[in-house]
Chain length 371, copies 2
């Protein structure tokens, strides 16, 4: 047992009493491991999200605060928005070790490897609770970290948005035919699915969306959900607010670490960082769940017209998604292996969710509608 | 400020120095705040759940492991099953400070104050995500800790089961009339609701349920969900497995601390304990979500027949629940105040959940059913 640490951090009553006054000499020899375990560290974390997305940006700030509090400020992580705003460059910096950490979404890295998308969300993937269960108790986190390790990255889940909205449309979508040529701002695998249905997909920074929709150079744009979408004001220029965002049933954010720096952290710091990430993982979902309802009310009060995607569109998109997954899987064994695991897990999850969870929510929603 | 605690568990370095032993001489002077922040502590946690409920029991073990890892084993918490198996006695011990911590469900404490039930689950309350959102981002945790403080307790959420099942019935329930005189093992506010519908409710240890159902001295029994229920083998003696457990839409477990011992913990230890509890909060839900599907499959393979509660039963139970809440609230201002807050939150939550979440799950469930 350790008596007094080298840097004087701790002292046990028993040791003080038995060691008496002769303390500063021999007793101090015993404890080098303790000093080593709580070094002073200053790390930097860049977020893929700008400050004005306060829920997502705040998730990284909360992580840094929890780590600092748990280490008496010995392990400090300075949070900033990524200077380039380019998620791929961000993870490149972390992999290269010029930056210790990032907060970003894996599906931004489909250019690196489409397998990354499976770690965040794919069209018709898992809902938020199921994605968490798959990550934390279904073996998926380990599968992904084997993939991420190829880029010298290690990741921990750090928040979920829940099912996102389908975005803002200037005109109603009543059929698959209405999607032909529709200029829609959407990225990632969701864009690939909609492109198969004839949508002219494109990416565009969120700050440009209002002007593009108002100027009619864009027909529609998806973002996140009510709480974040409200900040963009798109209800004024594209009033039809579609749901669900079937390409994001429950999108996971991740804390990204340089893999070597992670491995070199003292065990206690790894435990603290993992617990802090897990705290944020629950907290971000809670924040979205707590704040989305009032934002939705305000948006509807401000002219947003809620519309479900037509069943025909959902069905066609599901078919297109499955075709795309088959194409990617034929070329990418990692994608196929982990996507097969996701499908098997999803099949089991919805077997169970349709019984207790869904039936309960169904009753509660109907009871609410009756008042 | 307390220097040496009453039971000798902790000692602040500053006090040691000023107490006059003069130990360690001048070298020790530089680091008083650090010594104060990482004392060696050994606490005990008793769980309301027996070891064979490995998910619930394991939640407290995981908490203790995370805290130990994050503190380099300086803060160790020994986990054991509560000797008496009596939840109220358990929290009494924590309140009295003869035990530092417990892991238990607040709704076991309806005898102490029915307000406690609102912290776990009430009939027709929030689902698991909504309950988390209310606790963590809706202000409810602070409201509850004001109530718990009256019993010298402080609590943090530490896991959710999700929507539970409605239990095992020897005969089918096709109407409210079928509930008359039904001898049903169920506790808490759920029991009060069903008693209003004519059910002869009773409590009974889980170990006795099989014999009671087989010997026909009991007609039905509710427990938790597939993963835990499977261990009891009730499918063999009461084959009708009803859903949803409308009295537990998403039941929260809590880590309970003696309030004074919590307040006296160094800030870093409080941060670590809170992050560990938050980790477990997510992990237990993930565990249930990951393990319930296969257990449900095995139960159905073993003869369980899934049945939804009839709409008539659900409606009658909802009305009975609202009557009971009005009765309790008329006598208990704390209950009324926090229940009103829960209802307002629930109304907002289902406004939002019915849009993106529910529509997504609905589509996925139907797509799965078609193959």
């Amino acid at each position: 047992m350790v008596g007094i640490s080298v840097d004087g951090e701790s002292m046990k009553r028993r040791d003080i009493l038995t060691a008496g006054i002769g303390l500063a000499g021999s007793a101090a020899v015993a404890a080098p491991a303790v000093a080593q375990s709580t070094p002073e560290l200053r790390w930097r974390l860049h977020s893929a999200f700008p400050r004005n997305l306060d829920a997502l940006y705040g998730a990284a700030e909360l992580f840094a605060r929890l780590v600092a509090e748990a280490t008496d400020n010995r392990f400090q992580i300075e949070v900033a928005a990524a200077p380039s705003g380019e998620p791929a460059a961000l993870l490149d910096s972390v992999g290269a070790g010029t930056l210790e950490m990032a907060y970003s979404a894996a599906y931004y890295e489909v250019g690196r490897d489409p397998t990354y998308a499976l770690a965040t969300a794919i069209p018709f993937g898992l809902n938020a609770r199921q994605q968490n269960a798959w990550m934390l108790q279904g073996g998926a986190l380990d599968l992904f970290n084997e993939i991420f390790a190829k880029s010298k990255l290690y990741a921990l889940p750090g928040g979920n948005t829940g099912t996102q909205m389908g975005g803002w449309f200037r005109r109603e979508v009543k059929s698959v035919a209405d999607l032909q040529g529709l200029r829609f701002r959407i990225a990632g695998l969701g864009a690939q699915v909609l492109a198969k249905l004839g949508v002219a997909t494109q990416t565009m920074p969120s700050a440009d969306l209002y002007a593009a929709l108002e100027g009619k150079t864009l027909d529609a744009a998806e973002w996140i959900g009510p709480y974040d979408d409200e900040k963009l004001g798109l209800n004024k220029v594209a009033p039809f607010y579609y749901y669900p965002g079937f390409w994001e049933g429950g999108s996971v954010m991740h804390f990204w670490f340089n893999a070597q720096k992670w491995a070199e952290l003292p065990k206690a710091y790894r435990a603290i960082a993992a617990a802090a990430a897990a705290s944020v993982n629950g907290d971000l979902q809670a924040k979205y769940d707590a704040r989305n309802p009032a934002a939705l009310r305000r948006l509807v009060g401000g002219g947003a017209q809620l519309r479900p995607f037509p069943q025909e569109v959902m069905e066609a998109a599901l078919k297109a998604a499955n075709d795309i997954y088959a194409d990617i899987g034929a070329k990418n064994p990692d994608f196929k292996r982990i996507h097969d695991a996701l499908k098997a897990f999803r099949n089991e999850e919805y077997l169970w969710f349709q019984v207790a969870e869904y039936t309960y929510d169904n009753f509660m929603i109907r009871a609410r509608a009756r008042g």
